[in-house]
């Protein structure tokens, strides 16, 4: 039968020639290859000092966004928690009181919002489920800790500070939402 892909290889059990049986030429050839690798560029990055550039679609540590006036976007609807396949997100909701209009954009907000970073698989489904553009994944890496409890991130770590906004423009462009 004719091969369509031209990738078919015919296996042969041909006898080795004397030079092949000696093995030494093949061994020297292999050693020449490894020797050339001695002088090649190293692929390793010295991580804490040098960081690898991330792809625009990289999904790292989450951020809870604020709007332009610094109010939290999240309304604690729970769609992210429902969408989460790893059951990593929990939250409790609360009603916005008078005088808190500058803190929360809508009448309902999340009084606590926790993501367990050990459970999270960084799939980005929470981001996709969010109707308020409140949660995004960023190019930040979740650091390591010695205690399991330290991996449960509350609002203190998730909500972006008013004066240090987290740039999610790259991530926004990759999704279905227009910029």
């Amino acid at each position: 039968m004719e091969s369509l892909s031209n990738r078919k290889k015919v296996v042969s059990n041909k006898k080795m020639t004397f030079m092949e049986k000696l093995y030494l030429p093949a061994i020297l050839g292999g050693m020449w290859i490894t020797f050339k690798h001695l002088f090649k560029k190293h692929n390793t990055l010295k991580y804490p000092e040098v960081k690898r550039e991330f792809a625009p679609v990289y999904r790292g540590q989450h951020v809870l966004k604020r709007d332009e006036e610094g109010r939290e976007n999240c309304t604690a609807c729970g769609l992210c928690a429902v969408a989460c396949p790893a059951e990593a997100i929990t939250m409790t909701s609360e009603e916005r009181k008078k005088g808190e209009e500058n803190l929360y954009r809508e009448e309902k907000y999340a009084s606590t919002y926790e993501i367990n970073m050990l459970r999270c698989i960084f799939c980005g489904l929470c981001e996709e489920a969010c109707p308020k553009e409140a949660i995004f994944l960023t190019d930040r890496i979740v650091p390591t800790y010695f205690e399991r409890n330290d991996f449960i991130y509350g609002k203190d770590k998730l909500v972006e500070p008013v004066d240090q906004r987290v740039d999610i423009s790259k991530r926004q462009l990759t999704g279905k939402r227009p910029a």
Binding site: L24, I27, T34, F35, H37, L38, K41, H42, T44
Partner: protein, 376 residues
């Protein structure tokens, strides 16, 4: 006496220090060949890594499996370490030093049967591995020990035959004599180093040395992927450290032997332009440079070649290495006999050859020396 003691202690310390840093070198060479950087966190360029490793080994729990034989379990690594360290005693590290009118030989003991001593010590080295593997009471460890011992016994034969070839050419079992006969680099229209006179013998010796050190591609005794470490599966803490350390000491010593037997030891081209202590220091440096080159070759081979299968190992050892070494021995013997004038019917040569006939090939000469008893 005191000088000898100093040399002994210095050799001990240097061998251990070098063995420690060979672990770093191994990791660095492996990393570079795999386009990585290697350990670089402990000190500049990772230079303190061996200290960190050693410290870790010391402070780990000294664990012993319940069913292991207590004393054999302790003796195993001890024997491995001991045998690998004593082989360094007969290696001449450099030409004689002269300090304050006294001649100091850079060698612990110029034993006139030096190479025989090394072969003996190497064979005892099997016991360390065998006892360690047996005492662990673990089937993987026993498998590793069996493989190691059968491999070392098989390859010792070919190694011994290739050593005999060199001894036949030199007429002496003393390593210093063998090195001194390779004086300089060019002698009587041909290279004076043994590697140029006996290339096949060198290749056989290199391969068997790899096998004797249990290095890849002959590392069947360890076999991380199949035997999870082989004979040291059950070992931990400094006992494991001793096994690993002994391996690197072995590698260093066998590289020193290779450079002494085949690459002229402390001889180098143009050495006649120097004399006295300058020559001694330069010669020692050259010897260490050669040794480290071979250490690098050992590592290079390890990170290039995959492991042999057990039957391939035995096939190469018994059906390839030993016949090649024997044929090489035979040819060398015939050539020596020819040059000594055994085949000539010339009357003038007969008187000379008769004297030689009584002590054929010069090997016996050194035995005569043994009988009269040299000071060790």
């Amino acid at each position: 006496m005191i000088i000898k003691l100093i040399i002994v202690v210095a050799l001990f310390a240097i061998t251990l220090g070098i063995a420690a840093y060979l672990t770093l070198m191994e990791r660095k060479v492996a990393a570079w060949m795999q386009d990585r950087i290697g350990p670089d966190r402990a000190g500049p360029f990772g230079l303190l890594q061996p200290l960190a490793d050693g410290g870790k080994m010391f402070f780990k729990e000294d664990f012993r499996p319940t069913n292991a034989d207590k004393w054999l379990f302790i003796i195993g690594p001890g024997i491995a370490m001991f045998t690998s360290l004593i082989t360094g005693a007969v290696i001449p590290w450099g030409p004689d030093l002269k300090i304050a009118g006294e001649t100091i030989a850079l060698q612990v003991a110029d034993v006139n049967i030096g190479i025989l001593f090394i072969m003996g010590a190497v064979s005892i080295g099997v016991y360390g591995i065998m006892i360690g593997g047996w005492a662990s009471n673990n089937k993987f460890a026993l498998f590793g020990a069996i493989r190691a011992s059968s491999q070392m016994i098989s390859y010792e034969l070919a190694m011994g035959v290739s050593v005999i070839t060199i001894v036949m050419m030199t007429g002496s079992l003393s390593i210093r004599d063998i090195v001194d006969q390779q004086h300089g680099f060019w002698d009587n229209g041909w290279f004076s180093w043994n590697v140029f006179k006996q290339p096949i013998c060198f290749i056989v010796f290199l391969i068997t040395a790899l096998a004797e050190c249990n290095r890849a591609p002959f590392d069947l005794a360890e076999c991380e992927s199949e035997l999870i470490g082989g004979y040291h599966t059950e070992y931990g803490a400094m006992k494991l450290g001793f096994f690993l350390f002994a391996e690197y000491v072995n590698m260093f010593i066998s590289c020193a032997i290779i450079s002494a037997l085949f690459f002229g030891g402390y001889n180098f081209p143009g050495m006649d332009n120097f004399s006295g202590n300058t020559l001694a220091i330069l010669g020692t440096l050259v010897f260490f440079a050669k040794t480290f080159f071979f250490v690098f070759v050992f590592m290079w081979i390890r990170w290039t070649l995959p492991r042999f299968r057990y039957d391939q190992l035995m096939h190469i050892g018994w059906k390839k290495m030993i016949p090649i070494a024997l044929i090489n021995l035979l040819i060398t013997g015939v050539v020596i006999a020819y040059t000594e004038g055994w085949f000539s019917k010339n009357k003038d040569n007969e008187s000379a050859s008769n004297v030689k006939m009584e002590q054929p090939l010069g090997v016996n000469t050194s035995f005569e020396k043994t009988k009269t008893g040299n000071s060790l």
